[in-house]
């Protein structure tokens, strides 16, 4: 039985096509369609319900020691009001989840995790608690709305003056149109934008006032379909695709978030594995067709790996895919072939990210 987010009725009223996703009923698209929603985010602005994401809190004198032990990134030097990405690994170096850590206070951290992994994550986190720390899963009390696109600044400025100025920073207890919120300059689209955390009961009012404030700026509601095409176009990794229990963060190319000079769960396995045997690459499809996940990639006739995500990227106007292949089996500019349901399609190895905001 799927759960509804606090915004379910808003999605139905807007004509959203509702599908089950990660245990929730969410809109995959609205009547405008995935391409129009995608283009709105690249050129104007889009509004997403991401309330399905999970939120947990570590609080207490040993909160920092706990997260530094269980996460691959280093939180020792981090200012209050900043956000930092991390992986959480198993002992064998496989990935439990990827997540964002918000430093709320010297002894308080908010962690945002993937909806599909929430229960697994909470179990793993609880199992490894030590010292003086209080842990709580507040997912069901919190709604999250993402406002993404070049017009996001103009829209949010209509509702508050307290706007975080740096990427990956946030302000807590901001009044946005009279609703207490945590306002974060983050997102999963490759575009400038904000993520707004509110109490679940305030979500419909926040959603509506954002839509109203954005009406003159071309703001449109966007579903899961556009969320996926936008993140793929911006080459952002997705758990279960670019990394999972069997793909290490180093293979996924997420070295920037793995600090091997500190101690954390999975470190020894990552060190023992040495240089990654596989690497994440970007592919631009040259032939006719769309590469999806789990399709075999061949270089000069030899199987070198498989695609992890792929779709048509509306803003770039072509089909792109990410793939996990043997390290050093290809270089930028090389041509490879992808087996798409028995048909070999040519693709070129191109730099990541495919799309970068100017």
């Amino acid at each position: 039985m799927e759960l509804k987010t606090p915004l379910y009725d808003c999605h139905v009223a807007l004509g959203g096509k509702i599908v089950p996703f990660a245990g929730y009923l969410l809109p995959v698209q609205y009547p405008a369609g995935v391409i129009a929603e995608h283009m709105a985010v690249r050129t104007k602005c889009g509004l997403f319900d991401v309330s399905h994401m999970g939120e947990v809190i570590y609080e207490g004198p040993d909160a920092l020691a706990n997260i530094n032990k269980i996460l691959t990134n280093d939180y020792t030097k981090m200012d209050i009001g900043r956000v930092r990405y991390s992986l959480m690994c198993y002992d064998d170096g496989g990935v439990v989840d990827d997540l964002l850590v918000y430093k709320m206070g010297e002894e308080k951290y908010l962690i945002v995790v993937n909806a599909a992994n929430r229960h697994k994550d909470v179990e793993w986190m609880k199992k490894h608690l030590f010292g003086e720390v209080r842990f709580s899963d507040i997912s069901d009390q919190i709604a999250q709305i993402a406002l993404q696109g070049p017009a996001a600044d103009a829209i949010i400025a209509k509702l508050t003056a307290d706007i975080p100025q740096k990427y990956y920073s946030f302000i807590d207890k901001v009044q946005i149109g009279g609703i207490e919120s945590l306002l974060s300059q983050t997102g999963y689209t490759g575009e400038r934008g904000y993520e707004i955390y509110v109490a679940a009961a305030d979500a419909p009012a926040m959603w509506q006032q954002l839509l109203d404030a954005g009406a003159d700026e071309g703001l449109v509601p966007c579903g899961l379909g556009a969320r996926d095409t936008l993140r793929l176009e911006a080459s952002m990794p997705l758990y279960g695709h670019e990394m999972d229990e069997t793909i290490s963060p180093l293979e996924a190319g997420l070295n920037f978030a793995v600090k091997l000079d500190k101690n954390f769960i999975g470190r020894e396995a990552l060190l023992a594995a040495g240089d990654p045997q596989r690497q994440r690459i970007g592919l631009k499809v040259l032939g006719r067709g769309i590469v999806r996940e789990h399709q075999d990639v061949y270089a000069q006739g030899r199987l070198i790996g498989h695609s992890t995500s792929g779709t048509h990227c509306p803003y770039l106007g072509g089909a792109y895919a990410m793939a996990l292949v043997e390290s050093q089996s290809v270089q930028l500019g090389d041509k490879v072939e992808v087996d798409v349901r028995g048909r070999r399609i040519e693709a070129e190895v191109v730099p990541l990210p495919f799309y970068k905001r100017v």
Binding site: G33, V34, G225, G289, I290, R292, H312, A319, R343
Partner: protein
């Protein structure tokens, strides 16, 4: 959008219309294109291939997924709509004009429905 009354339909949401007494054009219905969403690629079948009623004729890709299109008749593919290679979105904007393949020498057909019967099928699925 209304389903043309001079077309025939199958339960798997394809349409056909006769262009002469032994040749049909085949496409997908408005109901089907709405369900799939924005189409971004049509993997057109090959002229000269034989196709079998109820078996996949070709596949189309939306932004989200790939979908098989089933042949409503058995016969020989005598033409494909090359315009769809560059403009798959024509299926979204004009599903009853954007034919995919022309099939001749027809030897068998699926159970064909008229527009009213097909609309009853769609109503059940909604």
């Amino acid at each position: 959008m209304t389903n043309p009354s001079d077309y025939q339909y199958v339960r798997s949401h394809e349409w056909l219309c006769y262009v002469d007494k032994d040749t049909v054009r085949v496409g997908i219905t408005d109901f089907a294109q709405k369900a799939m969403g924005d189409l971004v690629f049509v993997n057109l079948p090959q002229v000269g291939d034989m196709t079998t009623a109820g078996e996949p004729l070709c596949d189309v890709e939306s932004v989200k997924s790939v979908e098989d299109i089933f042949s409503p008749v058995s016969g020989e593919i005598t033409a494909v709509n090359e315009e769809l290679a560059d403009r798959p979105e024509l299926i979204n904007s004009a599903p009853y004009e954007a034919w995919i393949a022309e099939i001749s020498n027809i030897t068998d057909t699926e159970d064909l429905l008229d527009a009213a019967a097909y609309e009853a099928v769609c109503a059940e699925e909604e």
